[in-house]
Symmetry: C2
């Protein structure tokens, strides 16, 4: 299988298989409906729109979005809609959970509930994004943009596994992982660089399967073959990273938003860790990025 | 005075005044010589090349760079060259200190020496960059890309003052400062956001002079007027930040390197805190960026 190197190749790849069922919690939101209906029309998704039937129908109609009334599951208030959506995914009636017009904290509380939620006890929840910019020849899988503020070693290991799993699902047989810092030096002034040295060694021992993991590396050594050559730092990544693991949410968030704003970037992202993909989109994301988030979660639903 | 909005406007601005004297410590480096000689030829710098005379002359000749033998101060080994360069700046015989082909730690140790160095006791040293990208209508002054790993409140305050001072020197009467986080929420999960709330209030009280300071803000709210409007977050920055203060070196470093690689970025940066500008250039910076670093330090030498 050729690796997927551009986000618009995800829907193509999905068309080979049966559509995935997306349970949208509190679907009365035009943005969300627009992206979901586009995925349905493109043949890789089935919509389960959970929420207030009348509000959903009015929202769709006002936005000129055509929805099938049979897609709607009437569910009263937001708390009910979220509980119902989570339950459908838990019981295999849906393949992907997606947040609609509901408070993110309320939504995640339902996902995280140890009795009725989707995250097995002890499993780390994290966020992985596939980022595309015109000036990089492939996708960058970056983590964590949104969930773990200051990941410890255990959390970094989970982030690494989720990003690897995504890269492999995109057809990359031996993903190259750059553990991002400000320089390539391991130093006690940068505690993350110490975690990175440990993760690199774990990878060398085969603890993450087939992959190349190296860090600390800066963005140039991670993504620019010329810099890697000039600096003479011996690294198997050599400016060709598939995965970029960041030391903090603040660092990862600023990095990807800089690329979205100034480098023509697009992205697809999802929450990893729960038994099935969970999609939480931000209103400030582009229409395309929202659609790609859904496509990504459908691709990952088989994992 | 019209604000400077592009890096190539700095040399123009400098031509109005007498050239600044740049003391280069260990000048036997072709990259450094090339950038300095370009500044001399453009009329805003005078070169003081400190190091091994023969090595400097051979390096220049091999690289096809024309230097005047009278610019050279013969100074034996690197430690001597650094001591001599620092001493010239201390005693007013030079206006700017610049690192040549010498280990950065050795160089900074001389700058930081409390008896013979350039940093007054108790003053914070930090790094400020002016970054230019085609898709932003003005310069972004970002800090700290290189010196302070995890700045505390006191260090953040110093970073803010240095960046403000630079923005004002560029002709911005009321700089807009965005204190960068992953979102606009003040939260104990993000201790930096608490420092930001304090800095915002200090600014409101006039403690930083004429400026607008707000945070936490994410990159979209800081630099994208459209996002600021969509999200409805009340902030005087509203997508038009001049200064971006980052929560950590790792975050700032990854951000600017992403823009250099993928958004056509250029930069000019210098160390702030010492009595006179200190220039430390990285080999991985572009030829233009090196030249702009010198121009920036000349502009800031009058402060």
């Amino acid at each position: 299988m050729q690796p997927i190197t551009r986000l618009n190749q995800i829907p193509e790849r999905l068309k080979q298989d049966a559509p995935r069922r997306i349970a949208v919690a509190a679907a009365e939101d035009a943005n969300t409906l627009g992206a979901v209906v586009r995925a349905v029309n493109d043949g890789f998704a089935e919509a389960i729109l959970i929420g207030d039937r009348r509000a959903i129908e009015q929202t769709a109609s006002a936005a000129g979005i055509h929805i099938n009334p049979a897609w709607i599951v009437d569910a009263g208030d937001h708390a009910c809609a979220v509980a119902c959506a989570v339950q459908m995914v838990r019981t295999g009636k849906a393949d992907v959970l997606m947040k609609g017009l509901v408070n993110t904290d309320l939504f995640l509380k339902a996902v995280l509930n140890t009795e009725t939620g989707l995250l097995p006890k002890g499993r780390v929840m994290s966020y992985v994004c596939a980022v595309e910019v015109p000036d990089y020849p492939k996708l960058m899988f970056i983590t964590d943009t949104a969930v773990l503020p200051f990941p410890d070693l255990n959390q970094k290991e989970a982030m690494l596994r989720y990003a690897l799993s995504m890269a492999r699902r995109f057809g990359i047989a031996e993903p190259k992982v750059a553990l991002i810092s400000a320089s390539e030096k391991v130093s006690p002034n940068f505690p993350n660089s110490i975690d990175y040295a440990l993760l690199s060694k774990m990878a060398e021992r085969g603890q993450f399967g087939k992959c190349l993991v190296d860090g600390p590396l800066d963005i140039f050594l991670a993504c620019d073959p010329a810099s890697a050559a000039i600096k003479g730092v011996p690294t198997p990544i050599a400016g060709q990273a598939d995965v970029l693991l960041f030391p903090s949410l603040e660092a990862c968030n600023a990095f990807y938003k800089g690329l979205m704003l100034f480098a023509g970037g697009e992205l697809a992202g999802m929450i990893c860790g729960p038994d099935k993909p969970v999609v939480v989109m931000s209103r400030s994301e582009s229409e395309n990025s929202k659609y790609y988030c859904i496509a990504l979660s459908c691709l990952m639903a088989d994992e």
